[in-house]
């Protein structure tokens, strides 16, 4: 059967021709899917605002050779508060961008999908600092992809105890014996902050109010870590307010 149903989140869209759009989705069962939404840019389109980035939708798709075709879309979560706040939109876009880079086409991605939906809910749901939710999400995403940074032990020798310096290339903190001297020593609060961002639940991490200095330091490390290991630049990240 060439018609199938999936739940997914719209990651980004590209204009196609006069009135169509290519919609890139992260779905539960099919991973990343690229599909054409015909006539979606016309004001009278029956898809309307359902296929914008952040849309969490229940879809009917027609399987094509290269691109699928969206035949129906219904909203599951509107994420209205997220869409109506500039800082949350920018932070959320950075999440979508990172997911777009790690997701594989036609490969089930249930855990990735659930992580993204949970993160968008956390962004949508409260007065939390969007940049904190974003950093927590990115660290969890890296862990899911097999790049969990070592934060409670040394990435070099595995020695227990929270390290004070961090090496992006070696994948986490380094103890005094393993460090080469090139890595700078972190603010005392930064490593615990990174560990909390990685370990805590997405809804609770952000309620803590970390010091601005270690927030900035942690942010720079998260960006560097993701970009180094994914070998991609995060374009939306620098636009997030801190």
């Amino acid at each position: 059967m060439n018609l199938y149903r999936e739940q997914g989140v719209v990651l980004r869209t590209w204009k196609l021709g006069e009135a169509d759009r290519i919609v890139v989705l992260l779905t539960q069962g099919e991973g990343k899917v690229r599909a054409v939404a015909k006539g979606v840019r016309k004001t009278k389109s029956r898809f309307g605002g359902r296929l914008e980035p952040f849309s969490h939708v229940d879809l009917s798709l027609y399987r094509g050779r290269e691109l699928d075709i969206v035949t129906q879309a219904e909203v599951i979560t509107p994420f209205r508060a997220l869409r109506e706040d500039y800082d949350r939109v920018v932070a959320g876009t950075a999440m979508l961008e990172a997911v777009d880079q790690v997701a594989q086409e036609r490969e089930a991605a249930i855990r990735l999908y659930l992580l993204l939906v949970r993160a968008l809910r956390a962004l949508d749901g409260g007065p939390r600092d969007p940049s904190v939710v974003l950093d927590a999400f990115l660290l969890k995403l890296m862990a899911l992809e097999g790049y969990r940074p070592a934060l409670a032990e040394c990435a070099g020798c595995g020695a227990r105890g929270q390290p004070r310096c961090f090496s992006i290339a070696r994948g986490g903190g380094l103890c005094e014996r393993c460090r080469t001297g090139q890595e700078s020593t972190l603010d005392a609060a930064t490593m615990p902050l990174l560990a909390a961002l990685l370990g805590d639940d997405l809804d609770t991490t952000a309620t803590a109010e970390p010091a601005p200095a270690s927030r900035r330091e942690a942010g720079a490390l998260v960006k560097g870590y993701v970009e180094y290991h994914l070998d991609r630049r995060l374009r939306a990240y620098p636009l997030v307010a801190r």
Binding site: R12, G17, E18, T43, K44, R46, F47, G48, G49, R50, E52, P53, F54, V75, P78, R80, R83, E84, D85, Y86, V89, V90, T93, A94, L96, E97, R235, A236, P238, L239, V240
Partner: protein
């Protein structure tokens, strides 16, 4: 594939948006077939548009001289400014004949996923117009999609403290549409923006 100049023409036409190799070939052979005067008129139109059209120094609309048609028109209210993404949007609003103020063309919208931030748009130019033109109201008419909304939210946050009235064009149901096919987001907005029925 073809003799030099014909292939050159096909290649050049093929660079245009939405024109594939087959369409380019079809257009090239059409040009070969038409009268020389017609082909020259097309060539002249292309050279002239590049030579004579600039951006208006006030609103950044396309203009033949220093100022665009709208900024030159003294009957239009300079204290009302409608902010749009592209000159094409300006033309769409002009067609409604509802707006008698002036415009400001941003040259795009904030798009974090493409790395386009506020500094890449003509926002500074808008701010510098506020005082000299004694602007009372800024109407945000960016597209009602994620990028356009993000741009509108950013501008509202920037302009509100400056004592200017900031409004956003309404979103809702298209005239002639059907309620049952409206999506939840649009219908929700239409409800939020409902108004008294004039009697």
């Amino acid at each position: 594939m073809y003799e030099g100049p014909v292939q050159d023409l096909i290649d050049e036409l093929g660079r245009l948006p939405g024109i594939g190799p087959k369409s380019a070939q079809r257009l090239a052979f059409h040009i070969l077939k038409v009268e020389t005067v017609d082909a020259e008129r097309l060539a002249r139109a292309i050279t002239e548009v590049k030579a004579r059209v600039h951006f208006c120094r006030v609103c950044w609309n396309v203009a033949e001289g220093d100022l665009c048609r709208i900024c030159k028109d003294t009957r239009r209210d300079p204290s009302l400014v409608c902010v749009v993404e592209e000159p094409r949007d300006l033309v769409a609003i002009e067609r409604t004949q509802e707006f008698r103020g002036r415009y400001h063309v941003l040259g795009g919208a904030i798009s974090p996923i493409e790395g386009i931030g506020p500094d890449d748009l003509r926002i500074r130019e808008l701010l510098s117009r506020l005082e000299p033109d004694a602007i009372r109201e800024v109407i945000l008419a960016t597209n009602p999609n994620i990028e356009g909304e993000a741009t509108a939210m950013y501008l509202a946050r920037l302009l509100n403290p400056l004592g200017v009235r900031v409004t956003r064009i309404a979103s809702g149901l298209p005239v002639g549409g059907d309620l049952e096919y409206a999506d939840e987001v649009t219908l929700g907005r239409a409800f939020a923006g409902r108004r008294e029925m004039p009697v």
